[in-house]
């Protein structure tokens, strides 16, 4: 069963202007789902639709197999969320902020202290949140999302404003939550963070899902369309040989005697190297350009 299933969701803030067009998202239970997309692609709008803050023009949203239209608002007992920047009552202390939400979620009193400790804000519990740094606000926002020990945690850009230590701590907390069997939907523009955490990935572009799958499927894509830099002694000769094999040569840097080529699959590389060696072209360097998630993300959303 999926923790979240968005089925054929379309949405527009104005009539006839859809910002999301027929999107389908499936977040498997007990996974960490990385939700990627450029600014304005529709990530936050999708999250607001999942949370019922916006009503779709068409389609349905299911949380743990149940249509949210039928379970609203009781399904929020299972969902904790942090949407964009954390929203706090600035005139109140961290403790009072959590006390408010604990009344709505009916959580035991000691839970407030527990989550404050979890996000390292135990010492600042009496401090007004208006005086908090951005990172502290973000951590308190996370504490709010975790207050009622939800099964599904939706975090929209949770690393915003966090320092490197804060990001490491957040990663630890998320891994801990995953090991407890929680499902996490994580939207972030810091792709490196997503790559280290997630088990599933969805990529949204201009209001449509352009990729959804697990990391293995992503690795398969990573093996395709790889770029390699070759350093040779005779650039022009190497050009000719590679062109015979119909490989695209995007760039040549004569000064450094380097050539950048694009391959359909990494299996093609040994043949090219063999051809060059057979033609007496000396090769000094063969460097695949790392096809990391960021590069892939950019190529998919280009």
């Amino acid at each position: 069963m999926n923790a979240i299933a968005m089925q054929n969701i379309s949405f527009g803030y104005r009539k006839n202007e859809l910002v999301l067009s027929n999107i389908n998202i499936n977040v498997p239970n007990q996974s960490i789902y990385g939700f990627l997309g450029a600014n304005g692609a529709g990530k936050t709008t999708s999250i607001r639709l999942i949370l019922g803050l916006l009503k779709p023009a068409s389609g349905n949203v299911f949380v743990f197999g149940e249509d949210i239209k039928k379970t609203h608002p009781h399904h929020f007992n299972k969902i904790g969320s942090l949407i964009e920047n954390p929203s706090l009552y600035g005139h109140l202390s961290a403790e009072d902020n959590l006390r408010i939400w604990s009344k709505f979620f009916n959580t035991p009193k000691q839970r407030t202290a527990e989550v404050l400790e979890l996000v390292n804000l135990g010492d600042a519990k009496k401090k007004k949140t208006a005086d908090f740094s951005t990172g502290m606000k973000q951590r308190l926002g996370l504490a709010t999302a975790l207050l009622h020990d939800p099964q599904l945690i939706i975090l929209d850009e949770p690393t915003n404003g966090l320092d490197p230590m804060g990001i490491i701590k957040l990663r630890e907390i998320l891994n801990q939550l995953r090991s407890e069997g929680k499902t996490i939907l994580l939207s972030s523009h810091i792709l490196l963070e997503v790559e280290k955490l997630v088990t599933q990935i969805g990529i949204i572009k201009d209001g449509s899902i352009v990729f959804e799958g697990n990391l293995q499927q992503l690795q398969e894509i990573k093996q395709k369309n790889i770029e390699v830099i070759l350093k040779v002694d005779e650039v022009e000769k190497a050009f000719e040989i590679i062109q015979i094999q119909k490989k695209s040569i995007e760039e040549s840097i004569d000064k450094n005697r380097k050539i950048k080529i694009t391959l359909d699959h990494e299996n093609e590389l040994p043949n090219i190297v063999k051809s060059l060696v057979n033609a007496d072209v000396n090769i000094y360097e063969v460097s695949p350009i790392a096809n990391d998630l960021e590069k892939m993300f950019l190529s998919i959303t280009k």
């Binding site: 803050l53 916006l54 608002p73 929203s87 009552y89 600035g90 408010i100 979620f105």
Partner: protein
Amino acid sequence: MSFFKSIQAELIKLKFPPILWLMGFSLCSVLGLVLISHILDINNVVALGKNPWTKVWTAGVSIFSVFIANPFVIMLISAAVFIEHQSNTWKYLYTTPKNRSHLFYAKLSAIILFILGTIVVLSLGLLLCGYILNFIFPETEFGYYTPPVLKLISKFTHTVISLLGVIGIHYFLSHRFKGFLVPASFGVIAFIVAIIIGALNKPIALYYPYTYPIVSQEHNMFRTNNVGIVDYGWLNNVEVFSIIWFVIFIALANVLEVKKQVS
């Protein structure tokens, strides 16, 4: 129980410094005016065989109802709802396991409780005023007479009922406009107009909710004999109209809030 907890949560939010200042200012204004006016006119307070508390009650309720109640309620409601707009917390509030109507009425209940709490403190303050006057001027005999508490409760109850229309309108406006200035400014202008209409002594006051706290009771400040006030038992027509305005605006605000898209 769940609704009670939600009201508690809403009351925590009202620990907003501008709201506490507003409460303090309103209380000090009424009590200060009552005390000073009685000290300056002490000879009229001393009347053989008459309960001096009645005069203090009337002065306190009148000053509050005519000059303070409207601005206090307008500012309080504008600020209480503005807290959510300013903190951008609607998105969290509406992702709690409470339906929107529940949250809407919890906030409204907290605001009304806050108004009632202020009136309770004001009543205690009026009681204190009497004993202060008795301490300074023992001949006033405040200590000799029993304070007619039920009479004070009755007067303030009428004030609160006559304020319901304004409460409804401003709860509606504060939800519709995201800033503080629009509902607050509208309320201040409406209050000034209410004073003018109250002074006119004409039936138009029956159709303007901001005049209701001014004309619903005899405050000895405006003549109301031509307004057309009709008593229906314990309530009068002005108070009934106030309840009707309240019900209409609260119902409308609730419907719109339930349908609101939170972007």
